[in-house]
């Protein structure tokens, strides 16, 4: 064992992480690790809180995807109240979750990964950020910012605020959509759809340019996990929990999420605060699975809306029925944006959105409940146990990014092996290592508004701990 390269922090992701590359004496890559360096402790300090506070409390886990936690938390609450929520509440929750998918995916593609994809991995790091993107391709940056803002506006119109609305509650939602809100969202739909199609056009043009990256950015067989609608179409809020193998054969197809522990186990690794879930029957590494856009697209039969279905057909023509390259997360994300916009268009005139029957009232009818929904980054589980009065006794959260943890580690190793061949590490290679992680759009639980250039220190450390080489990007 010769050297260790550390990338700390990994930039343009949501949260704080670092990457370590371990080199042999001949400069070949021995191993690579992705460490999550932040600790939040939500599972512990939610204990003792009233069940009804949980959606608002767990929404604070993340400034990018608070809505995802609202959904999973409120659904766990529904299970504990043992109620069927009013149909209007489900429609409203679906609308907000679609807004969430649009805004988060737009952020990932345009703001965080756009600089790599549209300016190039080897572009000058000083301008390889959303501001550089705005200078080089004003239209792309503007459309991206407006698209994200469209998703955020849906969240704000429903929840009263863009970030951390405490709007989903056990039993339903707190408020309906106003006529003004409906008209506003409707008016913006054509522009949003155009932006999504524009982004898809860009992405398809990039697939050939980045063929090399696509071949090694987490391109390996894994299992896939996600929700699928009962009719086999793409799903984001409820439905069947499905797990398939690398060829698409279904291993698990469960009508409810409450049995997740029968097939998902978690392991804690000593060098990261991020838990690593895996498919229990196959252990590690065979039980490694991926969640999120490519998993959802691999698992579903169709998107369920015309434009997105046409895009899915083309996606599969290019990538095969089961796509295994994590670089394709970007492509899949854009198809999901389009599907979400089409679905918003279908929902927006539903009179249920303005209903005043929004909340099922009930006491504590079960002492345990699991809520599952699809966050932009993948399947999200909230599992609560409560006492007879509704005070939380235990919390288990399985976050999408955690479920991709094993795959992200494997991705870092694959990229390192492909690009690191000598003692000096070009900056573009370091960026590729980060970009491999960015493809998963990890949400490390989660600091918001972190975009653009952040400092990065890369050290080559010898076996005795001496720093042999250091590069700093301030």
């Amino acid at each position: 064992m010769g050297r260790r390269i550390v990338i700390d922090p990994v930039t343009r992701i949501e949260g704080h992480a670092k990457i370590s590359i371990f080199l042999n004496d001949d400069h070949s890559v021995a191993d690579a690790r992705f460490h999550v360096a932040e600790f939040r402790g939500f599972e512990r300090f939610c204990e003792g809180r009233p069940l009804w506070e949980m959606p608002g409390l767990t929404a604070r886990i993340c400034g990018i995807c608070p809505v995802s936690h609202l959904m999973a938390s409120a659904k766990a609450g529904d299970a504990i109240l043992a109620v069927k929520i009013p149909p209007a509440a489900e429609t409203l929750r679906r609308l907000m979750n679609l807004g969430q998918i649009v805004q988060s995916h737009a952020l990932s593609f345009f703001h965080l990964s756009g600089p790599d994809l549209l300016l190039g991995f080897d572009a000058d790091p000083a301008g390889r950020n959303v501001f550089g993107l705005a200078r080089a391709n004003r239209e792309a940056a503007l459309r991206g910012i407006r698209l994200r803002q469209f998703g955020q506006e849906i969240i704000e119109r429903l929840g009263g605020r863009k970030i951390h609305p405490s709007w989903c509650v056990p039993g339903g939602v707190r408020a309906a959509l106003t006529v003004e809100g409906r008209d506003r969202i409707k008016a913006r739909l054509p522009e949003a759809e155009e932006a999504a199609r524009y982004a898809l056009g860009l992405m398809k043009g990039l697939l050939d340019r980045f063929a090399d990256e696509a071949s090694c950015f987490g391109n390996f067989p894994t299992l896939y996990c996600g929700l699928v609608a009962p009719d086999g179409s793409w799903e984001h809020y409820d439905g069947r929990l499905r797990l398939s193998d690398a060829q698409g054969n279904i291993l698990v197809d469960s009508p409810g999420a409450d049995v997740y522990r029968e097939f998902i186990a978690e392991v804690i690794q000593p060098d990261s605060y991020l838990k690593s879930p895996y498919y229990r029957p196959l252990g590690i590494p065979g039980g490694m699975y991926r969640v999120g856009p490519i998993a959802r697209l691999n698992l579903c039969d169709r998107m369920g809306t015309p434009l997105a279905d046409a895009e899915l057909t083309e996606y599969r023509q290019r990538g095969g029925r089961i796509v295994s390259s994590s670089f394709w997360y970007h492509y899949a994300r854009l198809i999901e944006i389009l599907a979400s916009i089409e679905r918003i268009g279908r929902l927006i005139d539903d009179p249920d959105l303005r209903s005043d029957r929004l909340r099922a009232e009930a006491g504590i009818n079960a002492t345990e409940g699991v809520g599952v929904s699809e966050a932009p980054r993948g399947t999200l589980f909230h599992h609560y146990q409560v006492d007879r009065d509704g005070l939380i006794r235990s919390v288990n959260l399985i976050i999408a990014t955690g479920q991709n943890n094993l795959a992200m580690n494997a991705t870092v190793l694959q990229i390192a092996r492909r690009y690191i061949t000598g003692p000096t590490i070009p900056e573009g290679v370091l960026n590729r290592l980060e970009a491999g992680i960015r493809a998963f759009d990890p949400c490390l639980s989660c600091s918001t508004h972190a975009l653009g250039q952040m400092p990065m220190v890369v050290r080559l450390v010898g076996p005795d701990g001496d720093v042999l080489h250091e590069e700093r990007r301030d």
Binding site: G48, P50, W52, E53, P55, G56, H164, S166, E361, L391
Partner: protein, 236 residues
């Protein structure tokens, strides 16, 4: 009725006999911050937010009777600093997390902090382990958010007449309890009237099932009940 005259922030004002400085100041249109004070129940002078300078000395205006020759200052640099410090100490004493509190946006402690310019807490948080009681069918109690103003104790005793609430313990370990420290849901004296929840200035007492920022204390209803009682509107 005897009338006294005193000086309030330099201006001469009059007060009726028996009026406190706080009442006289309010009638004269001068606001003094309060927290434990609740119109219609007896004052206790517990929170010290209403401190004023009377002839240079610090006095709680809610329990100090207005008197002839008083020179009262309600808004000096020193008073502002003390009030700010009191609010900070209240935050430091328990576990107040506004962003995920049921009373966020409807909280007198939060409003005061904002009004007094509290942007951080200069004292170490005590971070005590506090319990939450959800045993009552309709209401919940969270000691993490209690500031020991005893409004619940007084309103339950003096308006409802049940005296379900009381204070147990000493000093920083004091806490409000129902009956002789039985779970609220098992209280034999509680009438479930909800006046304590209406009176609570923070999220310490709340409607069971309230989510973040959803609990509104119905102060108008409480005022109506207190006024009706004082005027004996329902006496037959």
């Amino acid at each position: 009725m005897a009338v006294t005259t005193l000086r309030l922030n330099g201006a001469m004002i009059s007060a009726r006999e028996g009026q406190t400085i706080l009442e006289a100041a309010r009638e004269a249109g001068t606001r003094i911050p309060t927290l434990c004070h609740l119109d219609g129940v007896s004052p206790v002078g517990a929170c010290r937010l209403c401190l004023v300078e009377v002839n240079g000395r610090l006095m709680p205006s809610c329990v100090t009777k207005a008197a002839e020759e008083m020179d009262v200052r309600t808004d000096t640099e020193q008073l502002r600093e003390y009030r700010k410090m009191i609010v900070e100490l209240l935050f430091a004493e328990r576990n107040h997390v506004c962003s995920v509190c049921v009373a966020d946006g409807h909280c007198e402690l939060q409003n005061l902090a904002e009004e007094l310019g509290v942007d951080h807490i200069r004292f170490d948080y005590l971070a005590p382990e506090c319990g939450v009681d959800l045993s009552h069918d309709r209401y919940g109690q969270d000691d993490n958010r209690c500031i020991l103003c005893t409004r619940c104790v007084r309103v339950c005793d003096e308006v409802e007449g049940a005296h379900t609430w009381d204070v147990a313990g000493r000093g920083a370990r004091s806490r409000v309890i129902t009956d002789l420290d039985r779970p609220w849901g098992e209280s034999s004296t509680c009438t479930s009237c909800g006046k304590c929840v209406m009176a609570c200035p923070t999220g310490a007492l709340f409607h069971r099932g309230a989510s973040v920022a959803e609990n509104v204390h119905d102060r108008a209803m409480l005022r109506f009940l207190i006024t009706a009682r004082e005027e004996k509107r329902w006496t037959v």
